[in-house]
């Protein structure tokens, strides 16, 4: 039973990350391949506060949220100057830089060995220790994220973001502030990713740089592409489908030694296949 709880909790955390990636890449068109880095920063911040006992879970989450909002605004800033392909390269560099910091800053992140023994969240004096309790916590957080995402898509803000993706100049000519809209969207995406990081750290109780590297960023993009860009449903379906994949692979009798590389191979193939044959994903719009 714990096995399914764990699958659902992880998938929900990735839904929150999917919202973050979809908002940037799908809706406003800032093609970021460094969302896992922001996710990681959120995770390390919450882990550091909880392990040192300096802050409780909720305040630590708030700090992580704010830090990731600021961080993501800074990371998205180059997109105001360089567009499209050039930004992908910039973002790629940012991701590599972040991974290098996660691995080498041993004092802060525990380096490649990671941080073990992150305590479970404590909310109003109650320790969220049981799997089902965690499920409730993550479902509430992700539900709030989905609600916010859905409301934005319906509101004039969502329309403005879509218009910016299509033609920034025309949006400026219509008298709208493109810079402010882009910064707001980046801030929100950062907040989503940071919160996901905090939840991930406390749920796993162990984090290491592998969870926040380039592969993780690309997995996020794959989730958005497979689920479907630009829609709430796509951001939800993608993580559930892709995280089910390892479990499906377990049903097939393949040696555990090649299971990991097999998984990467399938992720890659899925990404290519969807881009070629179904660019709108399972339940989304064409990227």
């Amino acid at each position: 039973m714990d096995f399914y709880f764990s699958y659902i909790v992880l998938a929900e955390i990735y839904v929150l990350l999917g919202l973050s990636t979809n908002l940037l890449v799908g809706i406003i068109g800032i093609f970021s391949v460094s969302q896992a880095a922001v996710f990681g920063v959120g995770a390390y911040i919450v882990a550091a506060f909880l392990m040192s006992g300096t802050l409780g879970f909720i305040p630590a989450m708030i700090v992580a949220f704010i830090c990731c909002v600021i961080l993501n605004i800074l990371l998205a800033l180059p997109s105001l100057r360089v567009s499209g392909d050039y930004f992908v390269v910039t973002s790629f560099g940012i991701q590599l830089l972040a991974t290098a910091v996660f691995i080498n800053w041993t004092a802060g992140t525990g380096g490649a060995n990671g941080l073990p023994g992150i305590p479970p969240p404590e909310i109003l004096g109650h320790t969220v220790g049981e799997a089902w309790e965690f499920l409730v916590l993550v479902t509430v957080a992700t539900g709030l994220g989905c609600l916010a995402f859905g409301l934005i898509l319906r509101a004039p803000f969502g329309r403005l973001l879509k218009a910016i993706r299509e033609d920034e100049l025309a949006v400026a000519a219509a008298g709208k502030n493109v810079l402010r809209a882009k910064v707001s969207a980046a801030a929100l995406a950062g907040g989503f990713a940071g919160s996901a990081g905090g939840l991930y750290a406390t749920f796993m109780s162990f984090i290491d740089p592998v969870s926040f590297d380039l592969d993780a960023s690309i997995l996020l993009l794959t989730m958005v592409v497979v689920g479907g860009a630009r829609t709430l449903a796509g951001s939800i379906v993608g993580p559930f489908v892709l995280l089910a994949l390892p479990h499906v692979l377990m049903l097939i009798d393949i040696p555990t030694t090649i299971a990991a590389s097999m998984r990467q191979l399938i992720y890659g193939l899925l990404l290519i296949a969807f881009m070629l044959f179904r660019p709108q994903g399972l339940v989304g719009e064409k990227l």
Binding site: L147, A148, L151, I152, R154, A155, P156, F157, G158, R159, L160, K162, A163, E166, D167, L169, A170, V171, A172, A173, A174, G175, K176, N177, V178, R180, A181, S184, A185, A187, L188
Partner: protein
């Protein structure tokens, strides 16, 4: 009558090319002024300079006595000047109605806080804005296409939509970049009638136009531009009957 819009000594070089060369002119309120001249005369560059998309190397633009120098495109729309683009620049993946709604100012929920924390207020405000956008569409004759995606509109309808989008901003001075080019006869009549009607409603129009018959029918004033410089100004009849200007227009060099 005080000067409505005035450009003084505008200069802009792109490498060795002078797109605007000591370019000065005025536009009178309530009139339709046509900007004509051969290709590369600097017509679109002037549009870009007035609307804040391009910073002139030198020179100034004032609107109703206020300087527009250094203002962002957004601030210039707020002052009451809006433009269309020669290549339309519509939002192809949005509906006709949403294209117009992007142009409407003062919207609730156009930033994340309002959108997330006040969804009902946002929805109510949206309903009012939607009515305003529909009225604008009706004005240009596109009301029945409101829920169509732009890619399903004809070229003529797309041109009308660009006019609807600038109207939505509430601007009083409209800069229209070739609103009539590429249109069929029927659509041409439609857009000329529309421009006249906008003038009757108190708008001032600055229009880039190549078709001399269109210029003759709609223009009150014509500005003739050559090599980034205002070469002549007059009524359509004066400009079109000047043999020297005709020669420049059809490829002569002076």
């Amino acid at each position: 009558m005080s000067i409505y819009l005035e450009a003084v000594g505008l200069e802009k070089s792109f490498g060795g090319l002078k797109a605007m060369n000591d370019c000065s002119f005025t536009i009178d309120q309530g009139r339709i002024t046509c900007l004509v001249g051969p290709n590369g005369a600097g017509k679109t560059t002037i549009f870009n300079a007035i609307t804040g998309f391009l910073k002139p190397d030198q020179g100034h633009v004032t609107f109703k006595g206020e300087s527009l120098d250094g203002l962002s495109p957004q601030a210039i729309v707020d002052k009451g000047i809006a433009r269309t683009f020669q290549n339309l620049r519509l939002f192809a993946e949005l509906t006709t109605l949403d294209n117009v709604m992007i142009g409407l100012g003062g919207q609730v929920g156009e930033e994340p806080f309002g959108a997330i924390y006040r969804p009902f207020h946002t929805a109510r405000a949206q309903a009012a804005k939607k009515r305003a956008a529909l009225e604008t569409l009706e004005h240009v004759g596109l009301a029945d296409k409101a829920s169509e995606y732009v890619r399903n509109l004809s070229y003529g309808e797309q041109k009308l939509l660009t006019v609807a989008r600038v109207l939505a901003t509430g601007a009083e001075l409209l800069l229209l970049d070739e609103p009539a080019s590429g249109l069929s006869h029927g659509a041409l009549d439609g857009i000329m009638t529309l421009l006249r009607r906008l003038q009757d409603e108190g708008k001032t129009l600055l229009v880039v136009e190549h078709n001399t018959r269109v210029v003759q029918r709609i223009a009150d004033d014509v500005l003739f531009l050559h090599q980034g410089h205002l070469m002549a100004r007059g009524t359509p009849a004066e400009i079109t009957s000047d043999p020297k200007l005709a020669e420049i227009y059809f490829g002569g060099v002076i």
